[in-house]
């Protein structure tokens, strides 16, 4: 069985700066793959290449969805979410702050609803088929709101939610697109310990119940070490280690990258 995501020789250059250098890795279905590394190691750049915000300078990014292979580097950025099934969240939360929580989740189901509304024609006429599709979309959204514990805030403006709630809403919104791979950019940043552990539980149920692969960038090592199946360590755009949490945490190259070289060691 082939991997869900295969990245081969990914290189991203910005002028003379090489942000990601010849990176290859795989991410499995139903597994949490963490990408860690010091600031500026190129983690978010990898995400931006995967989700179509950057076009990689070199490399092949392949996602297998329903035995169908999608080459991400050749797709329009906005098609990646719908066709290849990659959803993402952002380091600095990007909700639609003036829209309600429920509306945020409906926008995530735009493609499905747009087709059901006959590109607005059926919807304008108020056909029953569109109304049924909208109810289904609302039901799906409410299901996710229950899972992240935001059902009673469904009619709030998203911008009025607390920080931790906004983080969880962003994950719910990404999941409403029906992805096969969920890319989370520092989901635990700014959360208190209790919220972090709730987040871990949420991610584990997404992995196990929804059968979605998760790619996780995170600096909070307690989160990374407790839920990751595999860890990939980047430094200056290069992969310096890869393996299980236990193997990575004792890897001398990783310790060097995080703590610096020991005095006298060459």
């Amino acid at each position: 069985m082939s991997a869900l995501l295969t990245v081969e020789h990914l290189t991203m250059r910005f002028g003379g700066l090489v942000a990601v250098d010849d990176l290859s890795f795989e991410a499995e279905n139903r597994a949490i793959t963490a990408i860690i590394g010091p600031n500026g190691a190129g983690k978010t750049t990898v995400f931006n290449c995967l989700t179509g915000f950057y076009r990689p300078s070199v490399g092949r990014l392949c996602v297998t969805r329903d035995a169908h292979r999608h080459l991400l580097e050749r797709m329009d950025g906005f098609r990646i979410a719908g066709d290849a099934g990659i959803a993402r969240t952002f380091q600095n939360i990007r909700l639609f702050p003036q829209m309600t929580v429920l509306e945020n989740l409906l926008v995530a189901q735009h493609r499905r609803l747009m087709r059901a509304s006959g590109f607005s024609v059926f919807g304008l006429l108020g056909l029953a088929s569109y109304r049924a599709a909208e109810e289904e979309a609302i039901a799906r959204a409410v299901g996710w709101l229950r899972r992240v514990g935001l059902e009673k805030h469904a009619d709030w403006e998203a911008g009025n939610l607390s920080y931790g709630d906004q983080r969880r809403l962003e994950i719910a919104r990404a999941m409403c697109t029906g992805p096969v791979l969920l890319c989370l950019d520092e989901p635990a940043a700014g959360l208190n310990p209790r919220e972090s552990s709730e987040l871990c539980d949420l991610l584990l149920t997404i992995r196990d119940q929804d059968g979605v692969g998760i790619l996780l960038i995170e600096h909070d090592m307690s989160v990374v070490m407790s839920i990751s199946d595999r860890i990939l360590v980047l430094d200056h755009g290069c992969k310096i280690a890869e393996g299980t949490p236990a193997a990575v945490s004792s890897d001398p190259a990783v310790i060097r990258a995080y703590l610096g070289e020991e005095e006298g060691a060459a």
Partner: protein
Amino acid sequence: MGVPLRASDRGSFAGALREAGMTSLLAAAVMLPMIGVFTTPLGGALAVDTRLPEIGLAVVLVFLGRLGMIRAREGRPLEAACVGGAVTAAAVFGLFPGDLLTALAMGGGLLLVTGALKASPQGTAAWQSVMIRAQNTPNWGVWVGGGLIVFAVVLPWLPFVDRRLLDLATLVLIYVMLGWGLNIVVGLAGLLDLGYVAFYAVGAYSFALLAQHFDFTFWTALPLAGLLAAFFGIVLGFPVLRLRGDYLAIVTLGFGEMIRVILINWVPVTNGPDGISGIPRPDFFGLSFSRRPPEGTGSFHEFFNLSYASADRVIFLFYIVLALALLTNLFIRRIRRLPVGRAWEALREDEIACRSLGLNPTNIKLSAFALGAIFGGFAGCVFAARQGFISPESFTFIESAIILAVVVLGGMGNQLGVAIAAILLIGLPEWFRELQEYRMLAFGALMVLIMAWRPRGLLAQRAPTVRLHPDGDGS
């Protein structure tokens, strides 16, 4: 106001009188040189005339108003309310010369009364309960909107409405339509468009040219005018897809000017600055509204056995615009609740998040431009039918600015707010005509006042497109 007040004066009636006196002196000092003296032509020469009685009256009003304010502040709201009530009553009974002074006195008096009520404890409690009730009545907008619609429907039959006023109401409704159309682009999709007048012009010239060369009637040209405007909307949309904010505004501004310059210079087609005249008036199912209809067609008054009245045509046009405006409103209200409407708003909020969710920003922007332009085109078509004559003069940048002002002052994205703003911005300058050259000054002051009072527009509240707990308190 920075009038010095001695500490011993605080709270005493004499102190209040002194302060009010200082304020009215200041008012007199400002008014006398500015509007107190003016010149009138007198048999070839200029004579100096004065407006002393009016200014005296205004100074007295300022004195009373200031006195009322001070007494209200010092915990005697009853006195202030009495003063305000007396001034308002005097204005209502027409004791002041001139409409403007009457209106100012009336407004000032009412402000004083409401201010006094708010200053007294019982008044504050009553005011708060009214505000809470208003907030807990989510449908108040429906009531106000419905009231406005009913008022518009009966307007032509009200006793005080003459032909001139109805014509003005038609113009206001055209601007309501334009405001709602631009609201799609600016209010919902968040794309600042300073060249909206271009679509208005396209609609007007489409009808004029189709009628002139191909004998199209109003009703056959109307959909085509909308479609052509939508086409131009897409044509404008393509080059500006990658632009946002200020840069988008500059390019759209240029587009609006381009259309106008083309209309001026493409003389063989558009007849240049001379414009196109003889644009046909809308007919009623083939019945014209002229006294003697052309050969082979019937006329409205003959068919219904009425005596001929030239006002019929104006009333009919008013109802056409009203129907089109209501249709526009219905369309936008529905489409806002559809995926495409939500996508517009999402695009306004965060384009990057939209892309990450699989929304195609290109299509969303183009659909916003095209649909916004359609209503501009319809409005242009109606405008041409109302005027009977169009020229590039009618489609200058100031029109775009006014339409944008309607949207911004009304509250971006709010339909009712836009309608009210259109009534204020288009209706009031006509009412201010008495002020002559100070008309635009009053207009500007009004805009500044609205923005100071409600910085996000008259009605800035956004109604969610869907609610999970419709009767809940939202918490």
